[in-house]
């Protein structure tokens, strides 16, 4: 089997950033406090912006610098801040009690998913000319862990953070494999993300007003 190890400095830094991002996803999965979810997501996004900056230095690409700056400002700072201010503080949300699976079993599930990502994305299927080839299975694992977060957590805020982690995973994969989309597309993706988070925050606060807990566990009115 071919090795996934990176040789260049940029490759090593990119691998390191991906591993830290994976750990952030695990930390989120292993936590029970809303404040922590948001903090880990913020940390993960800042590491993502670092990864984008590494690629920007490597490729001498202005578009990637802009992407790194946008990621840092929007995902690293603005979204965590807005979630704290408009949801956690306003509705005094502290501890997530609506878990469908216990913390330890969800961590074990997460470990299985990470192993699965490595098995599914075999090194020989990854093109050899990438800067850091371990990033592809790692970003797949982050996507899967974000999905797991959305499944094992019933609270709407946890689901929101889970989706954002999935999004970070896709972005990491995109940065590592294709470096950059045409700028107009990237800007559009960011606009969608901002609009999406704004609408979701509005829905969560609407639900928090109606249901006291805003947990998707209480969302049973429509089940058939």
């Amino acid at each position: 089997m071919e090795s996934l190890a990176a040789s260049s400095t940029a490759g090593i830094l990119l691998d390191l950033a991906s591993v830290v991002m994976l750990l952030c996803a695990f930390a989120c999965l292993g936590s029970k406090l809303f404040d922590r979810y948001v903090a880990y997501y913020g940390a993960q996004s800042i590491v993502l912006s670092f990864a984008a900056a590494v690629m920007a230095v490597h490729d001498h690409d202005v578009g990637l610098w802009v992407l790194a700056a946008l990621t840092f400002a929007i995902k690293g700072i603005a979204i965590p801040l807005a979630t704290r201010r408009f949801l956690l503080e306003r509705f005094h949300l502290k501890r997530d009690v609506s878990l469908s699976t216990g913390l330890s079993s969800s961590l074990i599930l997460g470990a299985f998913l990470t192993a699965f990502a490595y098995l599914a994305i075999r090194p020989q299927t990854i093109p050899g000319d990438l800067v850091a080839r371990a990033v592809v299975p790692l970003s797949t694992a982050i996507v899967l862990l974000g999905g797991l977060c959305m499944v094992v957590r019933r609270h709407t805020i946890a689901q929101l953070i889970g989706w954002l982690i999935v999004e970070n995973g896709v972005f990491l994969g995109a940065i590592a494999t294709v470096a950059t989309f045409p700028f107009i597309v990237e800007a559009g993706v960011f606009l969608d993300l901002i609009a999406g988070v704004m609408i979701m925050v509005a829905f969560v606060s609407g639900l928090a007003r109606q249901l006291a807990g805003a947990s998707a566990q209480e969302l049973r009115g429509l089940s058939e």
Partner: protein
């Protein structure tokens, strides 16, 4: 042509602009109707220009129109025009009943406009990345409509909708990244690698392994928006809880926008690695959707949910037709897209009338609709007969074409299975609707459900126009439309 494209994207926004100045449903409805009809006229003009096989490119491929986009644009513009009339009437009735406050009326027209505009813009771009951006934007606009009533149930439906489809389209973004990657070794600028024209022309050079993964991710991702089983779970809730004209837009327009993306990716995959792979993937998802749709239609329960499951079933049929492929299959798929869009718009607009009059969504609580609301009752029974695929309506013709495609594709067993499922749907759907329309119900009251003459007219026109359209498509396909569909098929095969 550039002016026409700009017009078709900007015209629907007129009612959003008007909503900045007034919150009166009557004024906003009138603006929305004018905007909707204007959009339809421009879309027809665009469709005529591309119906002879011409395509149009501007801004290095970011703006791109070919017969296929012209066809989908026409379909969606028809739905927008019909639904804007429905919206005018429905919002006026809700305002008169104090069901919705002034802010909600404003929000409805703003997001209805954005929703329509984003979908129409999605057909006018050749960049598959921008297509993703616009489809996600249309999802976001439409989920505000789903959560508009702001009670616990509609917020729940809206939450389910936004979280599931955002997750889905994020998967589609990963698919788009892989497609972009599959093209990365080729010549041309990086911007080209994401445009349909380049990818279609150079499909043979794409890396097969990345493309397989890309197609699967795209079908799962955009399939979530199309409502393919098993990713359909948001669809019945969102359709049931949205205001009825918005449900019509979801079913008739939004689902087709997702399908359009799948059609484009299917064409690239077919050209690059042969038709077998894409065909198998689509047939599996298509059949699963038809089976799930059929099972839940039999349950009846809530009539808006029943129509929503009928959308799942129809999207499954279109996916199966794409899987059968060939000229016959693709013709059936495109015709079915148009006929289903019109038929389902009529059904959801009628269900809005029923909801306003009977104040229930339960099928078993509605009786004697024909007596209480003669026009809506007639539209409901004729519309469901049409949607269930009975002659002489257009859906019959498109479903027949698809089943013929199945036999031609040497898959007679699949075609027969589809035929059996369609028969079950017909019995269940028409049976449930017959129960609602016939029998004795509440008496006919002149002013209900719509408060004035103008809104009664706005409510009735789309029903009559839609049914006449369906009837016409069943007996006669205009030469222009036929040529548009044939050229669309040439684009994607």
């Amino acid at each position: 042509m550039s002016a026409l494209v700009a017009a078709v994207i900007c015209l629907p926004l007129a009612s959003a602009v008007a909503a900045a100045f007034t919150a009166r449903a009557r004024t906003l409805g009138a603006v929305a109707i004018a905007a909707g009809l204007g959009t339809l006229a421009v879309a027809i003009a665009i469709a005529i220009r591309v119906s002879d096989g011409h395509s149009f490119t501007a801004v290095s491929g970011f703006v791109y129109l070919d017969p296929l986009s012209g066809f989908f644009m026409l379909t969606i513009a028809i739905v927008v025009a019909l639904a804007s009339m429905g919206s005018a009437a429905y919002m006026r009735a809700d305002e008169a009943d104090h069901g919705l406050g002034p802010l909600q009326v404003r929000l409805y027209f703003v997001f209805f406009a954005l929703f329509a505009s984003m979908m129409l813009a999605a057909f006018a771009t050749g960049s598959l990345g921008l297509l993703w951006v616009l489809i996600e934007a249309s999802t976001l606009a439409s989920c505000v409509l789903v959560g508009l009533e702001a009670d616990a149930l509609s917020l729940e439906a809206a939450w389910k909708y936004i979280i599931i489809s955002s997750f889905g389209v994020t998967i589609a973004l990963a698919g788009t990244v892989f497609l972009y990657y599959a093209a990365s070794g080729m010549g041309g600028s990086p911007t080209d690698h994401l445009t349909w024209q380049f990818l279609h022309a150079h499909a043979h050079g794409l890396s097969g392994q990345s493309l397989r993964l890309a197609f699967l991710l795209v079908v799962v991702g955009y399939g979530t928006k199309v409502g393919l089983a098993p990713m359909h779970s948001w669809l019945p809730d969102a359709h049931a809880q949205a205001p009825s004209p918005a449900s019509a837009m979801l079913s008739g327009a939004l689902l087709n926008t997702g399908m359009y993306a799948i059609v484009r990716f299917r064409a690239i995959t077919d050209l690059a690695i042969g038709g077998e792979y894409a065909s198998h993937v689509l047939l599996v998802f298509g059949f699963l959707s038809v089976v799930v749709g059929t099972l839940f239609i039999v349950l009846r329960g809530n009539f808006k949910r029943m129509f929503a499951y009928s959308s799942v079933e129809h999207m499954g049929i279109i996916t199966i037709a794409l899987g059968f492929g060939g000229t016959l299959g693709l013709y059936g798929a495109l015709l079915q897209t148009l006929t289903h869009a019109i038929g389902k718009t009529v059904l959801f607009l009628t269900s809005g009338d029923v909801l306003l009059r009977f104040r229930t969504r339960l099928t078993s609580d509605v009786h004697g609709l024909l007596g209480a609301l003669p026009l809506s009752g007639a539209a409901l029974i004729l519309g469901s007969i049409a949607v269930a695929g009975s002659p002489p309506f257009g859906v019959f013709l498109s479903e027949l074409t698809i089943i013929r495609a199945g036999f031609a594709d040497a898959a007679p067993a699949l075609a027969i299975a589809l035929l059996v499922l369609l028969a079950v749907v017909f019995i269940a759907l028409v049976g449930a609707v017959a129960q609602m329309t016939f029998g004795t119900g509440p008496p006919r009251v002149r002013d209900r459900p719509y408060p004035d003459r103008a809104s009664r007219l706005a409510a009735a026109t789309p029903l009559v126009a839609g049914l006449i359209g369906l009837l016409l498509l069943g007996v006669w396909i205009p030469a222009g439309l036929n040529s548009l569909i044939m050229h669309s098929i040439r684009v994607i095969s």
